[in-house]
């Protein structure tokens, strides 16, 4: 359900940006959503369609790039990607000498404006 708040945050940013830069409207917004961010893409699409009505992004479509969870292990000196939303140990060597690198993103990366 917090996808509604996320969608509102997205629109707020987009509207402010267009006002500042002098654009009239938005055709598309592309966001990066990490798999471990807790946001469900389908729910975000649904929320976006509901909250965009009557805003500068009324006709905009939302593109969601899902970012998998990945990390880097200092023991293996290698990067890895996992299917789950969490990493308990390095999938290559099994040690806990890793750091998470991607998967928690909640970012706006591109807009198509006019």
């Amino acid at each position: 359900m917090h996808e509604v708040s996320i969608a509102l945050g997205l629109l707020e940013f987009a509207a402010e940006y267009c006002k500042r830069e002098g654009y009239k409207g938005i055709e598309a917004i592309t966001v990066k959503i990490g798999k471990a961010s807790g946001v469900m893409p389908e729910a975000l699409h649904f929320a976006f369609e509901a909250v965009k009505v009557g805003t500068i992004a009324e006709k905009a479509c939302l593109n969601i790039d899902e970012v998998p969870v990945s990390g880097f292990c200092s023991n293996c000196n290698k990067s890895f990607t996992v299917k789950q939303t969490y990493v308990l140990s390095c999938p290559i060597c099994g040690k806990s000498s890793f750091r998470i690198e991607t998967g928690q993103e909640l970012n706006i990366c591109e807009m198509e404006v006019f």
Binding site: M1, H2, S5, I6, G9, S37, G38, Q84, Y86, I108
Partner: protein, 214 residues
């Protein structure tokens, strides 16, 4: 025309959270954001914490709920200032809600502000409100699969309170599994085992909390 932008979606929320935090700092108030599933024992833990610490620290509470004022009343009956926020459907508190509630909190007269978030294991972890730390409660009746099902909250929290340990003899809960998985997700997580019913383990938690506030 395509334009590249680089921004956090929750930038506006994070900005207000930073303002709140600045105000708390200036007023010398330590703030904890208490999160859990509904019924895990947030209000019970706040009651226990108040009883243990009210002679040592001046405390106020902000209660977040979708509707109702029951929890704020439970706190006020202990003689502690409580402000109720009704989120009207939203499943978490955000920085703006806290910003609006602050006006009713006697910041100048308190040392510790406890914020009870809306009962939910997912959404509250995503939103900063201006807290010094996030604390989560998991009651052992919720099942030992929760850390891996809801990793974000375990990763965002500074401490995990395992509540309702008085029920251990009656249920099948693998405490070691909960603790191991939680620590794998977040090696610096501080873990307390408590029962808000019997009071077991509460003083370990409150001593730790007091040491951070003072």
């Amino acid at each position: 025309m395509k334009v590249k932008v680089v921004a956090q979606i929750l930038e506006a929320n994070d900005r207000i959270a930073a303002e709140n935090k600045k105000l708390f700092k200036e007023s010398g108030v330590y703030v904890i954001n208490l999160m859990s599933a509904p019924g895990a024992g947030k209000t019970s833990l706040i009651e226990r914490t108040i009883k243990e610490l009210y002679k040592k620290l001046r405390i106020a509470v902000i209660e977040g709920d979708i509707a109702g004022t029951d929890d704020a009343q439970r706190i006020e009956s202990l003689g502690i200032p409580a402000v109720q926020i009704n989120t009207g459907g939203a499943c978490h508190l955000d920085a703006n809600m806290i910003n609006e509630a602050i006006a009713d909190v006697p910041l100048k007269d308190i040392d510790l502000l406890i914020i009870e978030n809306v009962g939910n294991l997912v959404c509250p972890a995503e939103f900063k409100v201006g807290e010094d730390m996030k604390i989560m409660i998991l009651s052992i009746t919720e099942g030992d699969d929760k850390p891996l099902k809801y990793p974000l909250m375990f990763q965002e929290s500074s401490a995990l309170i395992l509540n309702k340990i008085d029920l251990l003899p009656h249920i099948n809960a693998d405490l070691a599994k909960i603790k191991n998985n939680s620590l794998s997700l977040n090696p610096s997580l501080k873990i307390f085992e408590v029962s808000c019913k019997t009071g077991e383990g509460i003083s370990e938690w409150t001593s730790w909390l007091q040491s951070l506030v003072a």
